[in-house]
Symmetry: C2
């Protein structure tokens, strides 16, 4: 891709149906739901679709009406982005805190009992109580159940970001294929290739493709592949595994997650055995998912573990083998409630990511994102699984 | 810069001196300080220097010892990154929650009263109390006072990220200078230039320069310049202001913040008047800061406002003029406690960012970051202030 290629258009912002809050509110005998947090809170983002400031602001849901108490200086953006019914600018009132602004909305609606998340800030509960409100809490599990199954507009966001991850991976492959061994080093464009240099290449392609937050590009080289979240700097050496796990945040906050592993140079026995085991486990996981909704996660987990065992690799608390689970739900958070601990449901978006690691030697992981359908799964994008990096 | 230029090396991770917690703990008659949050919480990051997972984990400070209760699968990274004394892996214990893991550490130290931030999660207070601990809270203002004045290793991080912002801005200028008017549109490489296309160019350069989180590249064009945090898509038109406010997060979490404004094409009267006013206000702000530590923020604010007034622009709740303050503290958070509301102290890092806007027409803002010293301020990097974009 040329840096000037405008690339695919950004998807439209997803909507949020706030009706799921009705039963939460009713079950707690409250009259409203309130959430106060900052732009870094994914649950607030789900409720508002508003990428607000890094200071607290309030969302209020009462009587079927969703209100955003917008901080000052953000009113134009709030009116453009908010997925609810009305925006009140905090500066329009004398309310000094987001909680006081929320209390003002609640006062207008005659509400005296409110529900907040157990993960809400302690001072939010404290301030709401000082405003004369009675506060009860609801578990994040109950709240998060509402966002497990993704709508078409959310899946479009996953599709966009996952496409960008593939373009980044393609760049990484081309760099690895272009690099040449020089003793213990791998030279690229006149200098030793490192995980940091490779990361910059990948992240630049992500940025060119419309990804604003490329902050989660894990790259391991040899032993550091076994360090599951390695984002540091390490020399890339010939004949060792290079593991790239690219999980940027895409438009409207939805994450991608995509892993491939390559060996630049000679493929030795351990690397080949590990790759074949993980590739077989990947296939077994997708076979186990072939029925779609209703598949018990334990079947996927079992398929991965038994396939790895056939190849001589253990799982769990092992020195060499698969030290993590088969995958996780993904959405507005990189790790979401959908899980292989339960049964997969239609609309859930999950990763499939078997891997085996030897902290003395290297690691192999292969990962894709799938959408669970009624009768099967859709893999978001297709990308070869090849241990040898392919030239551009 | 070529995409393959390795660029400057990343700065070393800053350290944290946890001794500031001693007085907070003592003043509350507690025996320890506990903070539980996820990777998106800047105060937890300041305490740990650990870019952990997006699920909660606990920091404990007791008897002068800082402990990180690391989540499972993150132990290798935690031992590499944690800025404190000891890492305990939650999986090594039976503790089911981060709070229970913290309680275990506190039990070992015989502590029964703990201090948490008022901004802590409500369930953290709840769970600690259920572990039999007595919990009191401290204001975030008191906590944040400790991180206002930056050490040399923190300023090195600001310097790195601010250098990257300048390279991104240079790319934006080159694109704008290379674009050609075509009626109401500005054509670049065969297609109409938009804020989104320009943002991708800027963000790709940031990524190439080692910036992983380029998510805050505000670009306004004409009227959308007055929408202070515009990150949407808008056509860039000839003869209108193009405002770029680039505030990515750099290595180890420190932010950059850098704004320039350009007019591609003919510079008309309003744009020239606005630019000259803001440029003069920028100079007046730096003059007011020339004494360094001890400068009352009100003097800077006054210098900006009176200079803009001389040029015919109002400030505050105005339709046309400067609708925001003269700047803000910056650090691990994009907006930090250092402020023009008080007196500037040595080591504080603040933005200087006068601007004027007309929602019908456009907006001009010029922004740099300065470090307050004992006898003056140091501007982090030098970059021309030119209304005409300069070719590459």
């Amino acid at each position: 891709m040329s840096a000037s290629d405008p690339g695919p258009a950004r998807p439209d912002p997803p909507t949020t149906d706030h009706a799921f809050l009705d039963s939460l509110v009713a079950d707690s005998s409250a009259g409203a739901f309130v959430h106060v947090d900052d732009r870094f809170d994914d649950r607030l983002l789900y409720l508002t679709r508003f990428f607000g400031p890094d200071r607290d602001h309030a969302f209020v849901y009462a009587d079927g009406t969703a209100t955003l108490c917008s901080p000052t200086l953000f009113d134009a953006q709030a009116r453009r982005e908010f997925a609810g019914d009305e925006v009140r600018v905090a500066g329009e009132t004398d309310a000094g805190t987001p909680e006081a602004a929320a209390a003002e909305v609640l006062g207008d609606r005659g509400v005296e009992r409110v529900l907040v998340l157990e993960a809400a800030r302690h001072r939010t509960v404290d301030r709401l109580e000082r405003e004369g409100l009675t506060v009860s809490t609801v578990s994040v599990d109950r709240f998060d159940a509402a966002r497990r199954s993704k709508a078409a507009d959310e899946i479009a966001c996953h599709r966009f970001v996952q496409r960008a991850t593939r373009r980044g991976m393609r760049r990484a492959e081309a760099v690895l294929a272009d690099a040449t061994p020089d003793g213990d080093a791998l030279l690229w464009e006149g200098a030793p290739l490192t995980t940091e240099r490779l990361r910059r290449e990948v992240n630049a392609v992500l940025a060119s493709g419309g990804i604003r937050d490329a902050g989660n590009t894990v790259i391991g080289a040899g032993p550091s592949c076994a360090d599951l979240h390695f984002v540091g700097e390490d020399a890339i050496r010939p004949d060792e595994t290079v593991l790239l796990d690219v999980s940027p945040r895409g438009p409207h906050g939805y994450y991608g997650d995509f892993t491939r592993t390559f060996v630049p140079g000679e493929v030795r026995d351990w690397e080949r055995d590990a790759y074949e085991a993980v590739d077989a486990a990947y296939g077994a996981a997708l076979d186990a998912l072939a029925g779609g909704a209703g598949t018990p996660g334990s079947e996927v987990r079992g398929a991965v573990e038994s396939t790895l065992a056939e190849h001589g690799f253990g799982t769990g608390d092992v020195e060499v083998g698969m030290t993590h689970g088969p995958g996780h739900g993904i959405g507005l958070s990189l790790h979401e409630a959908a899980s292989y601990d339960g049964t997969l449901e239609a609309g859930e978006v999950v990763t499939v990511e078997p891997g085996v690691y030897d902290p003395e030697r290297g690691g192999v992981r292969l990962e894709d994102v799938v959408v669970v359908g009624e009768d099967g799964v859709e893999r978001l994008g297709d990308y070869p699984r090849s241990i040898r990096p392919r030239p551009e």
